[in-house]
């Protein structure tokens, strides 16, 4: 039985009780009104009998026939009235007495009007007295019967009231008991179900994924419990899946970590292993140049210079690769870094090169952000290095670092007035080992922008370039706010 059904039943029961009571009270009131109306009729009847009695006494005392019409009128009224009073039909005497009184009155009038008919005065007097006795006794009896009928009606009213009380009690008590029973049962079931749901939800919230709710009633709460159990099962399944995935991820992360460590170690080892022979080549080339420059011809010396340059480039490439491989593995805690000071640091490091290019670096007011120092340094270091490297010949270098605060990101721009980059190369320049300067003797390793891109991506940002050949370059990159 659903909660809705029970509540609807309660409403219907309440309405039924109220309507029944109302109708019953209406009925009883109507019955009592009827009884009171009958009592009023009886009272009027009694009143007329009393008046008739009085008039009769006046007539008897005075023998004045002026009372005759009034007497006969009253008698006729009583004769009509008796048929209209419920309960009077129980007494045949009521039906007989009024015509009897009328006959007796007519006899009295006959005696009054025909005194000679009764020669004996004694007989006349006796006859009159017998008529009077009949009249008086019948009128007394009429009053007595009317009074009794009135009392009977009053008793009826009392009985109706007792019946009403009894009926209301007899009806109300079972209805009220039923009402209370339904309310109590409904309340118990609702509270019990709510309690189970509450405890179940609480246990589930505390992490007990085995929690299931059992509600036996076939109502909305049982339905809710079923949905809850389904939700809990799905949640358990989802969490289990996630746990498996996380386990897998952890395993993969561990593998990756180990792989990175091995790679790092490999990189260090390889760079060290590679750097040593390069150092030897460089050293012996210098020795060769120093010791045998007077023996070697111009070509020989040029070959030595080419070899040295090659070794230097190889070394730089190895260092850049090493740097690239270390991106993301930063030790220590992040600190609050004032980017204005950091850019100054980078400028200080590149001071000699800036001076050669007659370079000027300006900057917007840069923010302070919490991060590792090294990656941020690497970004600005490589950007400035590129600007210096790809500046115009015989033109002072101007570099501006711009800043715009976004909602979730810091947006930086690094703009120079260098040689610019043809848009067809905008994607290529961020690929590792890609350079655009194939003929210059001072061309870079091609890793700088790749390093910047990797660092920016690591810091959950993005980098793009706006440039045209001969019109300078603006690198725009974002760093996610933390």
């Amino acid at each position: 039985m659903s909660v809705r059904f029970r509540l609807n039943s309660l409403v219907i029961l309440t309405i039924t009780i109220i309507v029944s009571l109302y109708l019953y009270v209406l009925k009883i009131t109507s019955d009592i009104d009827n009884e009171l109306a009958e009592i009023e009729k009886i009272d009027r009847f009694e009143e007329n009998v009393t008046r008739l009695n009085l008039l009769m006494e006046y007539f008897i005392a005075t023998r004045d026939i002026k009372y005759t019409n009034s007497l006969l009128t009253l008698i006729n009224e009583l004769d009509k009235a008796k048929d209209d009073i419920a309960g009077f039909d129980r007494f045949n005497l009521l039906r007989q007495s009024i015509p009897s009184v009328k006959k007796a009155l007519n006899l009295l009038l006959k005696i009054e009007n025909n005194p000679d008919f009764y020669s004996s005065e004694e007989d006349r007097i006796q006859l009159q007295e017998r008529a009077l006795v009949l009249i008086r006794s019948d009128l007394r009896q009429l009053m007595s019967l009317a009074f009794k009928t009135s009392r009977f009606r009053q008793a009826n009213i009392r009985n109706l009231q007792v019946e009403q009380r009894g009926y209301i009690l007899a009806t109300m008590i079972p209805f009220i008991l039923l009402f209370v029973a339904i309310i109590y049962r409904t309340q118990s079931q609702i509270l019990n179900s709510l309690s189970k749901l509450r405890v179940g939800a609480k246990n589930l919230a505390m992490g007990n994924l085995d929690e299931r709710i059992e509600i036996e009633s076939k109502d909305e709460f049982a339905e809710l419990a079923t949905q809850f159990n389904t939700m809990a099962e799905k949640l358990e399944s989802t969490i289990e899946n996630e746990r498996v995935i996380n386990q897998h991820l952890e395993s993969k992360t561990e593998e990756l970590k180990m792989s990175n460590q091995e790679l790092e170690q490999f990189t260090i080892m390889v760079s060290n292993d590679l750097q040593e022979p390069l150092r030897m080549v460089n050293s012996f080339m210098k020795l060769l140049e120093n010791k045998y420059s007077n023996v070697l011809d111009e070509k020989g010396l040029m070959y030595i210079r080419y070899a040295s340059d090659g070794a230097k480039r190889m070394k730089q490439t190895i260092l850049d690769l090493l740097e690239y491989s270390k991106i993301g593995n930063y030790e220590g805690e992040k600190t609050l870094i004032d980017l204005n000071h950091l850019v100054d640091e980078v400028c200080a490091l590149q001071a000699r090169n800036l001076k050669k290019k007659d370079g000027t670096v300006t900057l917007d007011k840069l923010p302070r952000i919490v991060a590792h120092h090294l990656p941020l340094f690497q970004i600005f270091q490589h950007l400035l290095s590129n600007s210096i490297h790809y500046s115009k010949v015989n033109e002072p270098l101007y570099v501006h670092v711009g800043y715009e605060e976004m909602h979730d990101f810091h947006k930086f721009s690094f703009t120079d007035n260098g040689i610019g980059i043809d848009p067809i190369y905008h994607e290529k320049i961020f690929v590792i080992f890609q350079t655009l300067d194939s003929e210059s003797s001072n061309k870079g390793t091609g890793i700088g922008l790749a390093i910047i891109k990797k660092i920016v991506n690591y810091l959950e940002g993005d980098i793009s370039v706006e440039s045209k050949a001969g019109e300078g370059t603006s690198f725009v990159f974002t760093l996610k706010k933390n």
Partner: protein, 332 residues
């Protein structure tokens, strides 16, 4: 809890049974007349109302209340049902009865209300259809009964000298036979015999109308010694009659059937007569007035100082006060 309720129930049942069994049964002899006003007594006997009250009632059916009064005074009855005249004769006339103790008669109640109990039935074929036609005729009625009084009123009303009429003292059954046979010319009789005659002789009977209808009493009379010898008998007796009156009101058809069986009067007669009478226990001013009037009539009949006695002294109010106090309307 349930066992306690059961015990209480058992105890109450036992107490009820015990109470019922502890009522002492009182034998009671009642003298009645085969008159429609006696229906209540027959109902009370037939339906066990007397037995329920612990009364072992024997009913003696007499020809008239006069006979019942004689038997009461002779100690053969405990109660007599009668109209006013036999009662007053018993109180006032020391020659009336053989055994005449100091009168300790008491009226317990009037049991009926009616204005049309007495009828004067004449033989139509003799041309008796006016009051004066009765002069020189034979008229039968029960002497010293209410029929006697009614006829006296009739003669007075019509200024007829009784000496011009031959009166015969017949019981109602004899009256009916005599009228049918032509032994008498008219009868003065109470119901149901009057209506019965009209039906027995539809072509030869005539009911003489009177201006003064007769207000009947039907009294329950006992002696004061009844209470001493059989305490509580009067109260139980009145209670039985009260139940019988209620039964009469609620079961009209059964009452007619029983009346027919008891009186051996045809149903058509009983049905007509039943409309003329009310069964009603009372001690009313009306009763006092009618009795007092009867006293005057008896004085006229030669019973000296009949009017000197006080009717109130012969009324026992206590049983009625116990059973139906609202039925008492006598100013005391």
């Amino acid at each position: 809890m349930i066992s306690r309720i059961s015990l209480i129930f058992l105890f109450a049942s036992f107490a009820a049974c015990t109470n019922k069994e502890s009522i002492e049964v009182i034998p009671l002899k009642i003298g009645v007349t085969a008159f429609v006003g006696e229906v209540a007594t027959f109902i009370a006997q037939e339906k066990g109302f007397f037995a329920d009250e612990g009364l072992d009632v024997s009913i003696k059916i007499n020809n008239s209340g006069v006979e019942s009064m004689k038997q009461l005074l002779d100690g053969e009855l405990d109660l007599a049902h009668t109209s006013e005249s036999p009662f007053l004769y018993a109180v006032l006339d020391s020659n009336f009865h053989i055994n005449m103790p100091d009168s300790d008669l008491q009226i317990l109640a009037n049991m009926v209300l009616s204005n049309r109990i007495q009828k004067i039935i004449t033989r139509k074929k003799l041309g008796i259809n006016q009051p004066r036609d009765l002069e020189g005729k034979k008229v039968a009625f029960v002497k010293n009964s209410q029929s006697d009084y009614h006829f006296d009123s009739f003669l007075l009303e019509n200024n007829i000298d009784i000496s011009k009429i031959t009166t015969l003292d017949y019981t109602p059954e004899l009256q009916k036979a005599a009228l049918k046979n032509g032994d008498v010319d008219a009868v003065v009789v109470w119901e149901p015999h009057g209506t019965h005659l009209l039906e027995l002789m539809p072509d030869d009977s005539f009911e003489m109308q009177t201006s003064l209808t007769y207000s009947s009493l039907w009294l329950a009379i006992s002696t004061r010694s009844l209470e001493e010898q059989k305490p509580g008998a009067s109260i139980r007796y009145l209670r039985s009659l009260l139940r019988a009156h209620e039964y009469i009101y609620n079961n009209p058809e059964q009452v007619i059937a029983l009346t027919v069986e008891t009186t051996r009067i045809p149903e058509s007669v009983i049905r007509k007569v039943r409309q003329e009478i009310d069964f009603y226990l009372s001690l009313s001013e009306r009763m006092i007035m009618l009795l007092e009037w009867q006293q005057l009539w008896l004085e006229k009949r030669g019973i000296k100082q009949a009017s000197a006695i006080k009717i109130n002294d012969y009324i026992n109010y206590k049983p009625m006060e116990e059973v139906a106090p609202t039925a008492i309307s006598i100013i005391r």
